[in-house]
């Protein structure tokens, strides 16, 4: 093992695509460039909040949360090939699990006020458990049937959320989310660390960053494991996979549960950023947002999901900024041809359509094209 690693290290230097061992080829960063980019990316994520305005830090936190949910949906849709519109439902489950366990009691609304170390894992596990119960049903149907089934789940879920007043506060009223107090340390209040005063948005950003990194690396590892290969087999040809001994029921159940775990964590964190959650938050349009993260980012790539999350969350800001330069476009209200919200939603829909038609591999595909262009530069191939 040691000599093999040494040899492969040596060969990597000049010829990055030459792998002399399977372990090397399957490793999480199989080329040096990938590893370096990952390090640069993580460093950038660490430095960014100190350079940005406070509201941008909050937005960046939302990006990370969307990335977590997007990675979850990508595991299910991109890797295992099961299209789900139910992401919003599982996010809602996660958010309310967190709120009940970690929030405060107020009036009729239940809140146990436990520590984040308890509610955060449970915010993922409870949706995963519900998914486990629903999975045999979901495993019976394939393709578009599953999309319709999960769509129904969102509507039924919204109804339950509206009616379960002790848990959710009821329609139009809502409740406060969980308090992010981790082992007694409040992650959403201004703190002084080593003499530096750090505001609560930055603190919570770093907490989210840690959770995001753990979950992203876990997903990256998961998809190159035996289970990840099972997912791909089921996606590419489910009957063939079954014939070869991959249990369809078990694989789909696993995909559904893992995806819901990610959705639950993402929902719990998102509820803290939103500040107050109402049952109407977890509707079909939130699911479409996440579908967009996956499809715009690129199917079956973790990096792509992160790109997709950046894109989907920052798009409104970008549209806002651009419309500032175009006279006549985008007044608030009925003044212009379209207001900013309408414009960004249309662009959003248009991008889903355009990416699917022109570049099905998504933003990640665009990145591959760009990379390959410069790799061969100045030749065209």
């Amino acid at each position: 093992m040691t000599t093999a690693t040494k040899d492969s290290r040596k060969t990597v230097r000049g010829r990055p695509q030459l792998f002399t061992s399977y372990a090397r080829e399957m490793s999480i960063f199989n080329t040096r460039v990938k590893r370096n980019w990952a390090i640069v990316g993580i460093l950038a994520l660490g430095i960014l909040p100190f350079l940005l305005q406070r509201d941008m830090v909050a937005l960046l936190t939302t990006v990370l949360i969307y990335a977590i949910g997007g990675i979850g949906l990508n595991l299910l849709t991109g890797y295992a090939g099961q299209v789900s519109l139910g992401q919003a439902f599982f996010m809602g489950l996660g958010a309310y699990t967190a709120a009940v366990l970690g929030g405060e009691s107020k009036g009729d609304v239940i809140g146990l006020g436990w520590d984040m170390a308890i509610w955060l894992p449970l915010a993922g596990l409870v949706p995963a458990l519900i998914a486990l119960i629903l999975a045999p049903l979901a495993a019976r149907v394939r393709g578009l049937y599953l999309a319709i089934l999960t769509l129904g789940l969102v509507f039924i879920g919204e109804h339950i959320f509206k009616e379960a007043k002790p848990i959710t506060g009821g329609a139009g009223v809502g409740r406060a989310p969980a308090d992010p107090v981790f082992l007694g340390f409040d992650l959403f209040s201004n703190q002084t660390i080593l003499g530096y005063r750090i505001d609560r948005f930055t603190i919570f950003y770093f907490a989210t960053l840690v959770i995001f990194l753990v979950l992203a690396f876990a997903a990256r590892n998961f998809v190159r494991s035996r289970f990840g290969r099972n997912f791909a087999a089921v996606r590419d040809r489910d009957v063939a996979a079954e014939v070869m001994g991959v249990s369809l029921l078990r694989t789909k159940t696993l995909a559904f549960s893992v995806s819901s775990f990610y959705a639950g964590i993402s929902g719990a964190l998102l509820s803290i950023v939103i500040g107050r959650i109402s049952p109407e938050t977890w509707n079909i349009f939130l699911s479409i947002d996440f579908l967009a993260v996956v499809f715009i980012g690129g199917l079956a790539t973790i990096t792509g999901s992160i790109m997709g999350a950046v894109f989907v969350v920052l798009l409104p800001k970008l549209v806002n900024w651009i419309t500032g330069f175009i006279p006549g476009a985008g007044g608030i209200g009925d003044g212009g041809l379209l207001n900013v919200f309408e414009l960004q939603t249309i662009i959003f829909g248009l991008l889903i359509v355009l990416f699917l038609i022109l570049e099905p591999r998504g933003l990640y595909g665009l990145w591959l094209r760009l990379r390959n262009y410069f790799k061969a530069w100045p030749f065209s191939f």
Binding site: V141, A147, G152, I357
Partner: protein
Amino acid sequence: MEDLIASLVRGFGLGGLYALLGVSFVIIYRATGVINFATPALMILGAFFTGSFGNAVGLPFWLSVLLGMAVMAIIGMIIERVALRPMVGRPAFSAATVTVGIFIILLIVAGRLIGSELLTVNDPFGLNTIDVLGARLFTIDIARLVIALAAIAIVGLFLTRSRTGLAMRATAFDQETSLAQGINVGRMFGLSWGIAAAMAALAGALLTAGSSGVETTIALVALKALPVIILGGLDSIKGSVIAGLIIGVAESLTRTYQPEFAPWLGANFDVIVPYIIMIIVLMIRPYGLFGTKEVVRV
């Protein structure tokens, strides 16, 4: 007794609408293998055009409905040509996701066109009622059922009796073989979208008739046609008519009796009844009442 008759008739009216929307889904699914998630937006746009022809231009209701359907048929064909044709040969779920994108775009466009002013479709039914066996029935419910069934019958006749209908059915059966027989398969796809969009427009006009006005919030009603096509079978027109009526009546009966007999299920429980029926159907008979059982092979 009066309650029962009234809610049955309302259920049949609703069921007619669901059947119409279900057929709209089925026609596109049969031709292209895609579930058209843009149907709700097509329905609202159809209602908008009907309302505009009725109010702004001042045409009678029947004429404005027909014109609204024609406009939507053209829009449907354009959407197919621009957004769906390039997706031929790609996985069905990619094409379905394209329609999700179109749904978002069209919903915003419809909201913008409708604006903040009240727009009615100018229908002759309004809140008129007739008394049958002591029960007070809304004429709009009867009109919905009759018009929907008539429209579906016309489409059914077109598919079974006309040359083009035969070509469409052949395309749905086997695209490559029909291509070899000289059928313009692309045109059949466009035609399917045109018919489906026109039926969605009719459903929109009928849904808004007898209610307060055209609003984008009622768009999600069209998604209840998804349980209908699951129950009826994705590729069966007959199935979606019967399933539409079943689900419409089930929803209406729930609305009448659930607050009295099962108040613990919460307010507006009837809205999610179609989805609950759908889940039960998927557990027992995933290919629906009249759908073709999917045969899989390696």
